[in-house]
């Protein structure tokens, strides 16, 4: 069980995380929209990369958190960890949806289509469906403990999609471009790399901030429900 002191300390750090993420994102946005050069072939439209790539990475980070949290929940059965998983799923849905939408917008001028049945796109869309399924499952079960356990099992099974998303551009011939930053090196111009790195750091910090904020929100919701429920079921003295 996470101690209330540790929980308090984590929530205190939340403000710092928010400010730091805002700083990196503002600098990244400025560099990406105003300073960075256009791509030789794609032109200005390459600027979509500065929101699409960090949001996609944040989506993968959210699911990784969900997976790890689910493992810990099944082991420890801690309510806060369950809240964290629930929060990670909600944030995951948000980032995955935005990454898919911005990807589709980027695809139109570069591939001349909004959507194609490419392994990266399909596996990413499946990730969104898994996350939506996870959130739906949480509304179907009445018993809170069973709901949390079933959802954790589903999240662990669904994790199998994550390596497919990540390595799909390496395993199959895809229309989607391969990883620009990998063990093979960096295949991106420095003028574009700097804003991308700023946005990546900012979005990572932001997803952590959102995770803590949403966990706090779900915790307070449960607390309120418990308080109301507890009072209603109390025997008159």
């Amino acid at each position: 069980m996470i101690s209330p002191q540790l929980r308090g300390k984590l929530w205190k750090w939340n403000g710092t995380l928010g400010i730091l993420s805002g700083f990196f994102i503002f600098i990244g946005l400025f560099l990406g929209l105003v300073v960075s050069p256009p791509d030789y072939y794609q032109g200005e439209v390459v600027r979509i990369m500065y929101v699409h790539v960090p949001f996609a990475k944040a989506a993968l980070l959210s699911y990784t958190t969900l997976f790890l949290g689910s493992c810990v929940y099944l082991w420890k059965k801690d309510l806060i960890v369950d809240n964290l998983c629930h929060a990670a799923a909600g944030i995951g849905v948000f980032f995955t949806s935005i990454a898919l939408i911005t990807g589709s917008i980027w695809a139109k001028p570069t591939w001349n289509t909004w959507w194609t049945w490419d392994p990266r796109l399909v596996s990413f869309a499946i990730l969104l469906l898994i996350l939506i399924g996870y959130l739906m499952l949480r509304t179907f079960v009445d018993d809170k403990k069973r709901e949390a356990s079933y959802a954790a099992v589903m999240a662990i099974i669904g994790f199998v999609d994550l390596p497919i998303v990540y390595f799909s551009v390496e395993w199959w011939r895809t229309l989607h471009q391969p990883m620009s930053i990998s063990t093979r090196g960096i295949s991106i111009a420095p003028g574009m790399l700097v804003p991308l790195v700023f946005m990546m750091i900012g979005t990572t910090l932001l997803s952590l901030y959102m995770l803590m904020m949403r966990t706090q929100m779900l915790y307070l919701q449960h607390l309120l429900e418990a308080k109301q429920g507890g009072l209603l079921s109390e025997e008159p003295s």
Binding site: G22, F26, L29, F30, L33, V34, P38, D39, Y40, Y41, Q42, G43, E44, V45, R47, I48, V51, H52, F55, F94, I98, I101, T102, I105, W106, K108, P109, L206, M210, M213, R214, Q216, M217, L220, Q221, L223, L224, K227, Q228, L231, L232, E234, P236, S237
Partner: protein, 181 residues
């Protein structure tokens, strides 16, 4: 009823978000300024009507069959980007570095000077089409929805804290919700 402390927290959130909105608006304004200064282009029709003196960018399609790369200075005709519309053509000579984007039927932006007497356009740079509407759509969708999502979450946390405190305040010990002691 929201008490003074909570009201201050809410006010703090609104002030924080006003600052965030201002910063985002400034960044977007700078981006629009850069677009107007370095990217925005006119069509060949507008070029022939306005006949500007200085450096100008013209957006158009390389007319199929007119591109001549054999000479030291490549030449071609540039027309309206849409092949469906009635169009005016301008003669362009490209004096910049060799560019892979210079192809038959390719839509591109040429940046250079127009000579109204010779009716010739001397292009120094070639730029791919800006597709600015796609960039605007992607940024608006991602940044606005992110801000809304985040703001809603922060506001909910404060409102839930208020509700929890009220729940505590309105329930005297040993009294149930139906009022029986």
């Amino acid at each position: 009823m929201i008490k003074l402390g909570e009201r201050q927290s809410l006010r703090q959130i609104y002030m924080q978000w006003t600052v965030v909105l201002i910063i985002v608006a400034v960044i977007f304004a700078l981006a629009v300024f850069r677009y107007n200064r370095e990217i925005a282009a006119i069509s060949p029709e507008v070029l022939l009507q306005s006949r500007p003196d200085g450096m100008v960018r013209v957006l158009g399609r390389v007319v199929s069959g007119t591109l001549n790369k054999k000479e030291s200075v490549p030449t071609f005709h540039l027309s309206h980007e849409s092949i469906l519309k009635e169009h005016t053509e301008i003669f362009v000579q490209y004096i910049g570095k060799p560019d892979d984007n210079l192809r038959e039927s390719k839509v591109l932006i040429v940046s250079g000077f127009f000579d109204p007497e010779k009716m010739e356009f001397t292009a120094q740079r070639l730029l791919p089409v800006s597709n600015v509407e796609f960039i605007v759509a992607a940024y608006l969708i991602s940044i606005l929805s992110l801000m809304l999502f985040l703001f809603n979450m922060e506001r909910n946390v404060i409102l839930l804290s208020v509700l929890i405190k009220e729940e505590k305040g309105y329930q005297p010990e040993g009294v149930t919700t139906d009022g029986s002691a």
